[in-house]
């Protein structure tokens, strides 16, 4: 089942018929030492650190998938007010926390 997600309180073209409650998903990810060394070298010359960009995208996808799984378990078909929060725990490791309100929209 596809989960509809928005960062707003309402979903355009749909009516929220039931609010199921808060759902969240989190993950902490890091890259292997090779990518860390490459990022360290790239930091001498500057520019995009593609390994870390990839890591953040993986973390965001994984956290979102966990939130969606929680919402599906509650019987929701949409999540409103989605918010993302990030934290750097160690050098080259990050936590992504995603949360929102699971709703049934028709």
């Amino acid at each position: 089942m596809e989960m509809l997600m928005v960062t707003t309180e309402e979903i355009p073209g749909k009516k929220i018929v039931k609010v199921m409650g808060l759902v969240s998903g989190t993950t902490i990810r890091a890259k292997h030492i090779g990518k860390d060394i490459m990022a360290g070298l790239k930091n001498i010359v500057g520019g995009e650190l593609k390994g870390y960009t990839e890591m953040m995208e993986e973390a965001r996808t994984e956290a979102t998938n966990r939130m969606v799984a929680n919402a599906q378990a509650m019987g929701a078909n949409a999540i409103t007010n989605v918010r993302l929060s990030t934290a750097s725990l160690m050098q080259g490791a990050a936590e992504v926390y995603v949360y929102g309100t699971a709703v049934v929209a028709e």
Binding site: P12, N43, I44, E48, Y52, M90, Q91, A94
Partner: protein, 161 residues
């Protein structure tokens, strides 16, 4: 005289050349990378402006949106060694860290652009309620101060089709 020349070479010229190399390489590469990135950003921003309308309102501007969804954009950009060195000196006297500001600005623009490009590729024509979150991935190690700014942009995209 030959021995003195060798000593002079080993202890004065060689370290001087190595330190110059460590300054010159980051300065040149950092400037080139930044210039190219800014040009690329301007070109892509100009191209997306006519395709996707974006704002920070909670409600869509379009009258009757038929479809909505979430879009993301993220990027991690590192500061070059010269800019980090300049920032460390600035910390001694305090004030505006002008060397690091363009990196954060570039990261925000790039992440926003990626979110807008994702919206366009999925057939959305409007992006609203844009949220920007950023952090430094290199902030943990107090001995090795590095700026690796990671920016995550997310928003709700709308389409009238």
């Amino acid at each position: 005289m030959g021995g003195e020349g060798l000593l002079f070479c080993c202890f004065i010229i060689l370290p001087l050349m190595i330190s110059l190399l460590f300054f010159i390489i980051p300065v040149i590469s950092g400037t080139i990378i930044e210039k190219r990135h800014l040009e690329d950003l301007s070109r892509r921003e100009e191209a997306i402006k006519s395709k996707v309308f974006f704002h920070n309102r909670k409600r869509p501007i379009m009258m009757d949106p038929k479809r909505a969804g979430i879009v993301y954009g993220s990027v991690t950009i590192g500061a070059d060694a010269f800019k980090t060195w300049l920032a460390q000196w600035r910390q001694l006297v305090g004030g505006r860290m002008g060397s690091l500001l363009p990196i954060l600005e570039r990261a925000r623009r790039e992440a926003t652009l990626r979110a807008l490009e994702q919206a366009y590729s999925q057939g959305f024509t409007e992006v609203g309620n844009i949220r920007i979150t950023s952090m430094n991935l290199g902030a943990y190690n107090p001995k090795k101060k590095t700026l690796m700014t990671s920016v995550l942009v997310y928003a709700t995209a709308y389409s009238d089709k």
